[in-house]
């Protein structure tokens, strides 16, 4: 079981309260596809991903980014049971989507960087970052858990 300190719970809730999933989600997914272009292999159905501008303006990328980021809501609401909460999603990503689970980790890094750029050092302090990254690490682990 993951142990969360009160400070960590507070930090995660506070950050989540500030995050606009419709803003950060698309940014994070776009960054994943730009900074780690091999991740584009999973999005052949998304249309034009040929340039950075195409990726950043792609409505399917934006919609999917929002969906993925919005999915974190379940984790925030179930901090003490993230593994169970994401079990089905994990199976889906493994059996149906065949996504290399390392991509979850890398997307989490992109999310953290978007949050950092958006909120700056006074909100995204070292301690806030620690709590947020720990939270994402648990989500990443849960998503990779059902792979075999």
């Amino acid at each position: 079981m993951v142990e969360w300190t009160d400070a960590e719970r507070k930090a995660i809730a506070s950050l989540w309260g500030k995050i606009d999933v419709g803003e950060i989600g698309p940014q994070a997914l776009a960054r994943l596809l730009i900074v780690y272009p091999w991740a584009q292999r999973y999005f052949k159905a998304f249309g034009d991903l040929s340039t950075n501008a195409a990726i950043m303006g792609n409505p399917k990328v934006a919609q999917h980014g929002k969906t993925v980021m919005g999915g974190l809501e379940n984790a925030v609401k179930n901090l003490d049971n993230i593994k169970q909460t994401y079990a089905k999603l994990s199976v889906m990503h493994s059996e149906k989507l065949h996504v290399d689970p390392d991509n979850f980790r890398v997307l989490a890094e992109c999310i953290s960087l978007c949050v950092a750029a958006k909120f700056g050092p006074s909100v995204f302090t070292a301690d806030a970052q620690e709590a947020w990254q720990k939270f994402l690490a648990v989500v990443v682990s849960a998503l990779g858990r059902q792979y075999h």
Partner: protein, 141 residues
């Protein structure tokens, strides 16, 4: 691979950050220590509390080395030769930790640069720091 445009961008950003090298460096280190406590094991000989003179001095050293490398990225192996030796034979920091510092450095840059930390800048910086870390680890074995 870094394009010419990316190399110019990286050089320009680090040149601009040189005057605040200590602050950026210390911030990155603090973030790394907070998120990855195992990294603190390499610093038992220093005071790494926030705002300590050790932390600022050490942060400054690291950022200035990164900035120096950015001046001519094609010469990274030459520029970093002394640091390669230091890390391989004396410090012997597990090179997996370089990734942790690189990520923490990117967070510091994102916080500091805000909107300017565009996806293009992010990609360029990530590639540069990866290359820097790889060169730094070359003499390990």
């Amino acid at each position: 691979m870094l394009s010419k445009r990316e190399k110019d961008l990286i050089k320009e950003i680090w040149e601009r950050l040189t005057p605040v090298a200590a602050e950026i460096g210390a911030d990155a280190l603090l973030r790394m220590f907070a998120s990855y406590p195992g990294t603190k094991t390499y610093f038992s000989h220093l005071d790494i509390s926030p705002n300590s003179s050790h932390l600022l001095a050490h942060g400054k050293k690291i950022v200035l080395a990164i900035a120096e490398g950015a001046q001519d990225i094609s010469q990274l192996t030459v520029t970093l030769a002394p640091l390669q030796t230091l890390h391989a034979y004396q410090l012997r920091i597990d090179p997996r930790n370089f990734k942790l510092l690189s990520h923490s450095m990117l967070v510091s840059l994102a916080c500091y640069l805000g909107d300017e930390f565009t996806p293009v800048a992010h990609a360029a910086m990530d590639k540069y720091l990866s290359a820097f870390a790889a060169v730094l680890a070359e003499k390990y074995r």
